[in-house]
Subunit: 366 residues, 4 copies
């Protein structure tokens, strides 16, 4: 019941602070024989890496992963895999002035109240830098999934920045890699660039919505109550820094539907059941239907902005603060690969859990 | 890592099917010396019980809880508490015709695909009846919380049915117990009654939004990553049957805000920090701020409706189905006490977890 | 991390006290499709049941198990199985005089010190009656094992009572069911009967050693550090009431051996590796070799004896106590089916865990 | 339920192989505010370090620990502590000839059978080098214990090498640090030196018994069934490489005692209950009595010996092997600090778990 761990069988424990020597992920329960090297994991870290375009923080951190254990001659051995990322561009001087002031919207105050000690350089443990560890673990999970369910494809993308949503009619999978927002709507990407540029210049920030889809997941993974696939997905996405809401399929909009409108009718396809629609987001009773698994989450605006905000100090004095430093105007952008990583970890974990309890899918239809 | 368990230290395992002999909750880790009896738990079960008014299912189940262990002479002993509810009004004949047909929107098909066997009488394990076990556990959690953090108050209520939302300006805590929807907006309650009556008569159903608030929770509970208070709340709410979305504080709407608008500025009050607003829902970095903890979740419309829907059989033949039986036109109503119970369990669990790791709150301000 | 649970995937939570309404086991993670009914579990409970001969306590408890969930039409459904045993012959008057006095060797004093409250009727939660729940869970585990590894055979037997050990030269599997001690040495059984009869008449008690062997376990189950097969076996046996020592293979005697004497040399047999000996008890590096898994544990003498012993009361006064009541002169006898049950649960759990992480055995030899 | 983790609240995950870049321990759940630095942990690693005298392996590994996270300005922050030890003296050439041959008594064959891949350089994950990670974690646990229960003292020592046991009459705590065997019997130390010298020269090895005692542990820690203090101690000791038996208090000898002889009578001392003896090893019903916690474990002889032994290859051919290299004639010696470390981790974990569930000790006597 480690507080910093997630997963049942594929179990990831992340460790490290934004300004300590290193951070990483201790991954237990990975199947043996998964072909992996540092470059394959680095690929996903590079996607999350800061400083890639003007819409993300200008901190430059190579975020170079090292595999310290659990891999031998290019394959996992089935023993714990340690994925370490050393911190290099720490510039702790940027943070010196917040040693005693609590930044509104950050976890400075709650960490202090809980622990009575905090690494005030950056967010310490509460920094979004922690998500690099998850992306590394997710890179490993993706390769392990290939071994067990090779048809699974996991893709994340933005569907909204501030009030601006994509037009679902313009959804084009091939566009996702073509713009800095990882959005499938090319025209939205253009509009968003202008919008975000203004926001960045004014020192403000904005929230976003990220959607992550897993295609090709076999029917039958997940289990009742606390191994429900949606339970674990909700937890994994909500555990990402700045996330305030998580939706499966229709999500919050399900409240507005009638039973008639919400029904996903079932037909018989050539390769098993097919559905008239996917309001359920590919999950019924916590177990996958074989349809696309669809998760969506909202990321709040970066709390580090250039507007003066009222706050207090450790000694309880009222004061003001401007959070300088190099920050993302929309952290939602860099949350895309993080959401993908969490999806990969959850899907792999449930594939293993299902195999453990059941063996192979048992109930055949037709 | 029991699949049917939740909680770190206050750990609840639910068991049982809708039409078996009984169901219940095995509760481990409850503090000793908590004054409890069956009536105190029954109080909360009665709130959830079906058949109380025309807006909930007309099944009549007394849902009478029995304490089988862990309580001696009116107090918990610190050993596992077994809370059992016997099933009485099973009428399994209602379900005979769905032995081979999968009801759209229900977990019939996924349970079959996963396990290759399912209790087809009602939803079996996937029935919302399972939530009675959670309400029982939540009743115990409420009493244990009184011992540790006596100022905590947990209240759930509906804020939306179908497209109809409450008017936040009319929010009145005292109204919640006065109407069948547990809504704090008395005029909404009237409108909803008429709306739902029509819907019920037409054999249709509708979704809803439930909000659960915990007031008086001390600052400092929760912990990074997978013991984040919001992570555990998201999981606990998403694990409730029919829930499709979970929000903390601003929730999905956080996507639309700018950093300026979203900032909860901090001031110094007489009893510690105070905030200009509560966009965060009382949680920063996964740890409580001392403000109200605010969680919201959307419940999809009941899938059992009187409209014919297309589906398939176990042998893969296409067919149609009408789900007769006695069902709720809006399961959201009965989800209110369930949401409260999950909040109670999560809050207690984190109070214990904090006490275990830290002892008492460490970081004082001022 | 429930305190009253064990197992990774096949997870058993026991609950209940000796003199409450009932006790039982909540079993999560059982594979679906396992043929089971109450009689199959009752078979094992009857083996443990008190009052069968003059060497076990004369309490009469039918120990009748009821399956309350997780089984449908004679097969497990893959959801939690609740196994309940109602307490019938409680005679709490036997225990009235120990309400305030702590019985030496019993957990009365530590439960009081820990919890500040205890069910003083019998041992409450600390009573060996708790082991009935384990035997029930073990009965289910045995049936599930048949599905996955049908060659596994689990047998427990006594090898020592007080100073009297069996003669290994006379070991005969077929004798085990033929005597009240479940010992494979028929002549030892005769000697022990006389010895124990004397002891019983004098109101004294004695310890014992029980050995449990699992034959036919495939090579490769177990995993490093805390899922080592021997780690889990040691924990599971030590968790049985009154157990003070656990050995794998050579056990404590390994200390006396030289490396030359201890080496199990490896040869190639028709169906895989074979070994010249089994000093290791069938486990190397925490993983099964395919040889017999051999576990041994020592049970201390029953603490309830008819000799006056000095003790104190709750208020700290010194006093004396004689523990009347109906007790076993050698609880080791009834520990045999309990040890078997724990072995069955551990073996099943590791079969599932292995299947989850690895799929099938991967490394072939030859 | 990570396979490579142990502990409930103070949770340690070890990772790494003997010949990879590094190994270490990821420690979650450590209380904040514990004063710690690398030197304090190094102290215990140095005690375990090879090459200190002629009775331990002549490999030279500095075993230098680095703290990578969770410590800020000399104190723990309450977030995960990463303790890393880089491997330096790897000399993998020593192991080249065992790439395809399985060493008898080692886990080479079972790792291969389980995973289908193994790091054949040294034992890889199954090497006793893994225990360095535990010693590091134990060093941290010791400092955390000081914060919560400052009177706790943990000491390990050898009581037997091969057939040679200490004389309990000569037990002298002050001798433990004075000889290379950490034994409290000075005259035994002399005899053992001669005995082991002969053994080492002949290329043979021998087993040993190690006893670990925790003094000053408050009454009341531990909990039923799977959080029993003795359950967790048995698991933690049995999980150490080469351990084949674990005893609490009387241990296996409890089998030979009568109830009269085994009774620890209770008296009232000035500071609470006192006992006439400690057959129980300080634990009743899984909960500490306040007496010394006494654990003993047997370590088998090193399997790497200079005698030719028969074995097979990966392809199933029969062959012979001599395990050259630099090995310990008695690995029991270096198991002493490992046993102490495990005791420290278990005691801390249970102190936290008790504080979490109970708060403070509840039941007062007198």
């Amino acid at each position: 019941m480690s507080m910093n761990s997630f997963g049942h069988l594929f179990r990831v424990t992340t460790w490290g602070e934004s300004h300590g020597p290193a951070l990483g992920a201790t991954v237990d329960g990975c199947p043996p024989g998964v072909a992996i090297d540092e470059a394959m994991i680095q690929h996903w870290l590079d996607k999350r890496k800061p400083g890639q375009n003007k819409f993300t923080t200008q901190r430059r951190e190579p975020d170079q992963v090292k595999i310290l254990s659990g891999v031998f001659e290019g394959q996992t051995t089935g023993t714990p895999v340690q994925l370490m990322i050393e911190n290099t561009d720490q510039r702790s001087k940027d943070y010196g002035d917040i040693m005693d002031k609590f930044r509104p919207g950050h976890a400075d105050i709650t960490y202090w109240q809980k622990y009575g000690i905090r690494d005030y350089r950056g967010g310490g443990r509460s920094s979004a830098r922690e998500t690099a560890s998850r992306v590394a673990a997710g890179g490993l999970a993706r390769e392990a999934i290939k071994q067990i369910a090779p048809n699974v494809q996991i893709s994340g993308y933005m569907t909204q920045i501030g009030p601006h949503k994509i037009d679902r009619a313009k959804f084009d999978w091939s566009q996702i890699e073509q713009n800095p927002f990882w959005t499938p709507d090319a025209s939205a990407a253009e509009d968003w660039a202008a919008y975000l540029d203004d926001l960045r210049k004014s020192g403000n920030s904005v929230g976003a919505v990220v959607e992550v889809v897993a295609r090709g997941v076999p029917a039958g993974i997940g289990a009742p109550v606390y191994a429900k696939l949606d339970t674990d997905l909700a937890a994994s996405m909500m555990s990402i820094n700045a996330v305030k809401g998580v939706e499966i399929g229709e999500g919050m909009a399900a409240a507005e539907l009638t039973g008639e409108a919400n029904a996903d009718e079932i037909f018989m396809g050539q390769n098993g059941p097919q559905y008239s629609s996917n309001h359920s987001g590919g999950i019924l009773g916590g177990i996958s239907t074989g349809q696309d698994i669809v998760v969506r989450f909202a990321v709040k605006p970066t709390s580090s902005i250039l507007t003066t905000r009222k706050t207090i100090t450790k000694s309880g004095e009222e004061t003001e603060i401007i959070t300088k430093g190099r920050h993302d105007p929309c952290v939602g952008i860099r949350a895309v690969p993080v959401g993908e990583a969490m999806m990969a970890c959850v899907i792999l974990d449930h594939l293993l859990l299902h195999r453990g309890q059941i063996g192979e899918n048992r109930g055949r239809i037709g």
